[in-house]
């Protein structure tokens, strides 16, 4: 009895009971479909997050003042040194793999022009920032290179901020008040939207020295470092840590890579995926029990047929194979149906929410299908064995 004979025979048997077959197909299909849709969504979320990060620049290292570990003896030390502009300059000079360094001072200020006032985020930085964060300009220029640290009173507005203050008029050359300071507008950013929680459209940019004076601070909020290539990240991080530690006399900064943040997101999504696998396992187990039930009914309904097959010279192995093939046909058919349904649902979701790049990953599709086949084998085994254990004589008489 060849595989083709087996499949042909089982296919006939499966097709003979349309409704029952359809229902057990549906059981598996829902499980497999759920896997396809949910993994597509998680992968979509993963892609979305990494695209967000990528749109904010790649190969970035961030220096944060203060340490995450608890150090020092209480009463002695413990107060971190300021992270200064000189630190930023030193880092830029000393680490060869660095492409650009942008010091960042940050606060909140009200920006006003005429009788309009708007409360926005203030970022004090250098021209390097725009390049590292890959922010395109709509009008004018970004901040000047303030190497002499004069604290020029110029400002670059986020798209939304400019729109609110100036409507459709050209803000270039106009004077706005930022906090108590008068600043000349020299540029406007193109609309960015919110990226990783920062709304660049509602931000005013000023030179870093200006910002530190306005905010009356000595310490930077962050130093943003872009390295030349991805493989330089880890070494650059270590060198930056070493240099700042050397300058401060103690290790009082935290150096993280943007990749590390991304990795954290990744591990959250991994947990989601594990939860998903658990749900899928449960739903496919239920589907498998459904198949087992259908096969048990099939075996008891076809007792006479099994007796006949045995009388005609079918061996136990052949009867086992026939019923197993039937169960596997059901589960595989259900799996394929589930893939199709899941795929259509994903297409629909992508159509409705084009921002989410949802697409089922290949491994999930392959695994779902494999598991579906395995479900057929595992849950078909008990009914199939029951079929082989029937005594031919009693089976023939339907007992």
């Amino acid at each position: 009895m060849t595989a083709a004979d087996l499949l042909g025979f089982s296919f006939c048997a499966v097709v003979g009971h349309r409704l029952r077959t359809l229902l057990s197909l549906l059981g598996v299909a829902i499980g497999v479909g759920a896997v396809v849709v949910l993994t597509a969504l998680t992968e979509g979320a993963r892609t979305y997050v990494s695209e967000q990060f990528a749109s904010l620049g790649t190969n970035l290292v961030i220096v944060v003042p203060g340490r995450t570990e608890t150090t020092g003896i209480p009463g002695l030390g413990g107060t971190p040194n300021d992270l200064t502009l000189d630190d930023a300059v030193a880092v830029a000079r000393a680490v060869p793999s660095i492409r650009r360094v942008a010091p960042i001072a940050m606060g909140t200020e009200s920006v006003s022009h005429g009788d309009r006032t708007r409360q926005v985020a203030l970022i004090g930085t250098t021209p390097e920032y725009r390049l590292a964060r890959q922010l395109p300009l709509a009008l004018g220029d970004f901040l000047p290179d303030d190497a002499e640290r004069r604290g020029t009173p110029v400002a670059v507005l986020g798209a939304n901020l400019a729109g609110e203050l100036f409507d459709r008029r050209n803000p270039l050359g106009e004077v706005v008040r930022v906090g108590g300071w008068r600043m000349r507008v020299i540029g406007v950013l193109a609309p960015q939207g919110t990226k990783l929680g920062v709304d660049f459209d509602e931000t005013v940019f000023v030179p870093v020295v200006t910002a530190m004076r306005m905010l009356n601070r000595q310490s930077l909020f962050r130093i943003l470092v872009e390295v030349n290539a991805h493989q330089d990240l880890d070494r650059a991080r270590e060198e930056i840590r070493r240099i700042v530690t050397l300058r401060h006399g103690e290790e009082d900064v935290t150096v993280i890579t943007q990749d590390a943040v991304l990795t954290t997101f990744g591990s959250i999504l991994d947990v989601l995926t594990i939860g998903l696998v658990a749900i899928a396992t449960i739903s496919l187990t239920v589907a498998g029990l459904g198949i087992m039930n259908v096969m048990l009914v099939s075996v008891s309904e076809r007792t006479r047929e099994i007796g006949l097959l045995r009388a005609l010279g079918a061996g136990r192995g052949q009867v086992l194979a026939a019923f197993l093939a039937e169960a596997v046909l059901l589960s595989t058919g259900g799996g394929l149906l589930g893939l199709a349904l899941g795929w259509m649902l994903v297409r629909l979701l992508v159509h409705l929410y084009p921002a989410l790049p949802a697409s089922p990953p290949g491994w999930a599709v392959a695994a779902a299908l494999l598991v579906a086949v395995a479900v057929g084998v595992v849950f078909g085994l008990l009914p199939a064995r029951r079929a082989t254990r029937l005594d031919p004589v009693s089976a023939l008489s339907g007992r």
């Binding site: 009895m1 060849t2 048997a13 097709v15 009388a311 031919p392 023939l396 008489s397």
Partner: protein, 250 residues
């Protein structure tokens, strides 16, 4: 061809043993046509199942040809059924979702005959029973007589040594039943050993000889010409209504 020595078959029903067959000694030679008669529960179907290697005797020895087969394991008995024995049942036992020709192909499928060869031989077998025109019909599109002819084609397509028929005309009207008996007779004339279980004396009369069972024992043997007399002595005398023709003797 068939030699039975002291064959017994005991079933356990609850905690009480039921002796379906007790001490059966019988020899059927090749090409013979033997009828087994008896009332319901006399053990005639049990005997047929034993001869057909569907069942194993509790005691005694059974030779098929020159091989002792009574106590063989399941897989060896499967092979014997596949190649040496053909079964014809009262209720035809065609697989309802398969066409006539597919039903005939079944034993060859198990025997590993290739699809093309299988189809050719199945068509031949159907032609031999006069059913070539109806090969692609499903069983429920066939009359009772046609179904039984398809079943006979299936039973003979593997060229078995013995054809076992259990009430082959029990579900048929007289006319199509007669045609089936003629067909079986023709197969027997061609050299096929034929064992028919029946309760109908007119069918038994067509056999070379008749074995009469009662309560699991052979109570009479007769040449076909003597059937009437033997039956009236053995069965008819005690309870004329004992044989209900509608009853399936299992």
């Amino acid at each position: 061809m068939i030699r039975l020595e002291g064959i017994s078959r005991t079933y356990q029903v609850g905690d009480r043993p039921v002796h379906a067959l007790q001490g059966i000694d019988e020899v059927v030679t090749a090409g013979e046509h033997v009828a087994i008669m008896g009332a319901s529960g006399s053990g005639k179907s049990t005997l047929l199942n034993l001869i057909g290697c569907l069942d194993r005797p509790t005691a005694g020895r059974y030779w098929l040809g020159d091989r002792e087969v009574g106590l063989l394991g399941d897989s060896e008995r499967t092979l014997i059924r596949r190649h040496r024995i053909g079964f014809v049942f009262q209720s035809f036992h065609l697989v309802a979702r398969l066409t006539a020709v597919e039903n005939v192909e079944l034993p060859m499928t198990f025997g590993g005959v290739g699809p093309r060869e299988r189809r050719r031989r199945a068509q031949e077998a159907l032609a031999a029973v006069g059913l070539a025109e109806r090969a692609d019909h499903l069983p429920d599109q066939l009359s009772g007589g046609e179904r039984q002819r398809a079943a006979i084609a299936r039973a003979t397509v593997m060229a078995p040594a013995i054809l076992l028929a259990d009430e082959p005309t029990g579900n048929l009207d007289t006319r199509s039943g007669g045609a089936i008996l003629d067909l079986l007779q023709r197969l027997n004339d061609g050299g096929l050993t034929l064992v028919v279980v029946t309760h109908d004396p007119s069918i038994a009369r067509r056999a070379d000889r008749v074995i009469v069972l009662r309560d699991g024992r052979i109570v009479a043997r007769a040449a076909a010409t003597d059937v009437g007399r033997v039956l009236s002595e053995i069965l008819g005398a005690e309870s004329p209504g004992a044989d209900d023709p509608a009853e399936d003797d299992q």
